[in-house]
Symmetry: C2
Subunit: 444 residues, 2 copies
Amino acid sequence: MLKNVKIEKHKILMFNFVTFYYRKSIKYMKRDNDFVKAKIISIGDELLIGQVVNTNASWLGNKLTTNGIEVISTLTIGDGEKDIVDALDACSDVEIIVMTGGLGPTADDITKPTLCRYFNTELEFCQDAYDNIMSIFTLRGYQMSERNKGQAYIPKACRYIPNRYGTAPCMWFEKGRSVYISMPGVPFEMKNVFEQEILPMLLSHFKVTPYINKVVMTTGVGESFLADKIKDWEDALPEFLSLAYLPQHGMVRLRLEGRHPNRDFLQKTIDNEIDKLTKIIGEHIFGYDDTPIAEAVLNKLKAAGATLSSAESCTGGTIAKMITEIPGSSEAFKGTVVSYATSVKEEVLGVSHEDVMRYTVVSRQVAEQMATGVRALLKTDYAVATTGVAGPGGATEENPVGTVWIAVAGPDGVISKKYNFGKDRGNNIERAAITALEMVRNSI
Amino acid sequence: MLKNVKIEKHKILMFNFVTFYYRKSIKYMKRDNDFVKAKIISIGDELLIGQVVNTNASWLGNKLTTNGIEVISTLTIGDGEKDIVDALDACSDVEIIVMTGGLGPTADDITKPTLCRYFNTELEFCQDAYDNIMSIFTLRGYQMSERNKGQAYIPKACRYIPNRYGTAPCMWFEKGRSVYISMPGVPFEMKNVFEQEILPMLLSHFKVTPYINKVVMTTGVGESFLADKIKDWEDALPEFLSLAYLPQHGMVRLRLEGRHPNRDFLQKTIDNEIDKLTKIIGEHIFGYDDTPIAEAVLNKLKAAGATLSSAESCTGGTIAKMITEIPGSSEAFKGTVVSYATSVKEEVLGVSHEDVMRYTVVSRQVAEQMATGVRALLKTDYAVATTGVAGPGGATEENPVGTVWIAVAGPDGVISKKYNFGKDRGNNIERAAITALEMVRNSI
């Protein structure tokens, strides 16, 4: 329906961003002609009603994109035959349709019979699929039920793709120039089958155009000011590159991306543009390619040959979790004391009982003593401590929900700062942990 | 296109699950006639390429569903004019269209000008929006830029909805019987505006049919066996109720849900059916309504007047994080020692150096001494400890990646068990933490 939408130029010139309409159009046309495109369809009522967050779609989006396949849309629908059929009918404009979900053995899983009817085929027994289901049940020490035997029947018209991680077989259909793939919705099974079986098949079936992106992580400057600062650079970008802004938690991530038949040329061009960008806004850049802040901290610690520990009250182990999620973190991170109880602050970390009485547990004195205490106890070069009111309970007149004291102890002494992050418990915990790591990073 | 799909009954009778096709059809027809329906459209390249997980869609799906508005689909598209227009064109079958994203001040945000053209209107200056932007900049101590001033222009044809949490105004369009809502993609801003402004407006604009769901959490029994066990009960459910199975990490969640004009009758019927279900599979039920396992543990601890601590090596604080995410956890949870370094295990927790040398750090002896050590140190009734190889490094012949020892110390002594969870670091950490909490729950 784009043809019905007229551009009334005189009305829209007042906004900078509208002038970029033209570049978007060019991008769309290029994509329509040149690139292998995919749509992702996630099937499951639990996703629609928000019982489960759809992490499969973003994982698949990332795998497809970085392998040169452009993702046009991801659609989430319920376990209903008409919904599935309508969704498939709307996919004739792409080469690859990736479906997840609805392949379980119970009554609410209807993807397989629906695909059977959609591709005008019927189910037949598949010995390989049966053997696979049998081996999984044997491994788990369970007996196979009639329902699970049903999972060994697959549509005649499809290519069977084994799923070594679960009982639901995967399916590959072809229709015209398009490939339709159906995988289970269990993330662990889906990811393994997609990486090990399906992605290699797709890359040998289609000739894809290389895609590369580079993400620049900035902090300390707003989206608008950043955009003004780099406007000349952005306007001069080659036509096959585009830039996106992604603000979050006081950071702005800039994503430069593009597609080009010549991968080396594409890589060199992106590297070159990132060099130019770094010259303009280098002071605000703290990392690249979605480096977690915990990884940036670990890298600085390792470079300095230093170690870290934490004493966590309101963050309750979140700092430790963020650090230990990074492989190899044990080189620089020695441990944590989560001192949720005041007695633990005093008896394990050596916080002064008198100071707790005089200044309360949410105070500069307690935060600093927790930091120096855990630094001495775990014998590390640096230590970070948090104490605050995450909410919803625990607020006082002096310390409303969201109040957090953060202290960092290091070879040169202790620094500490008071923050207020707001009213939401989850947000307060996360913001406090990120801010604590940022304070450590600036101290090393 | 459903009319083109013939049901060939003789071919599909072989499977239990196919016989449920009819109920699904009935469900769909009912929904089409009776209920207020919504589609969610998430706009943003960062979602499509998997740089950001779309938590907005699941949050909105939950809010809409539990307020009686049936969510038909959630669609994620990129920041392209044609994509947005095509998505809107496909929404004529629902009453409510909720859009998020693409309202920022930079060149890649094109939702507002696109909506302007789609609804055949033009932008005009809005003093309220301008004042709101100004107040946000004043609060943050920044100066307003020309780009942000542009955010104060909104389409003439829309109803302006203030966003007190950010600079992008929200918009409410009406076309035929449908309402189109556009909100920013920043989760914090979106959630506040939706709950405080938009949801009340929707509920006064549309007459909705009450919806209720109840989730039953089971463990220790597979999806197929559960389905067989409750088949008679499931088959006898009233027509306006339906059941879904959701297997995950060794648990199966059962969701019973329905819509009915009489909310009290609906609630009573669901309560009654859940009572019947509990009589059949009560032994496998550990909670309701997506109670996190950590909350089930805390409830048992509080009921017993007991306290808990943890000593975490491979889980690196994840158990503590899962517990402290629950409001009020400080009543029963005293703290944690994350003993990532062996020296911390020995010096802080009192693990025997000889045993570390003889049995390695990933052993029954070390796990049990960590549990008894932290129980004594933090003076709690129960203590749980983990030590293992999360991967990818650290594996030995005896302890491959995924090996985890978990120990629980309590008033009656120590129990411990060895697990292998697989090859993926993130999965190993999460599975170990959940299993550790399950072991604590069974020990109280």
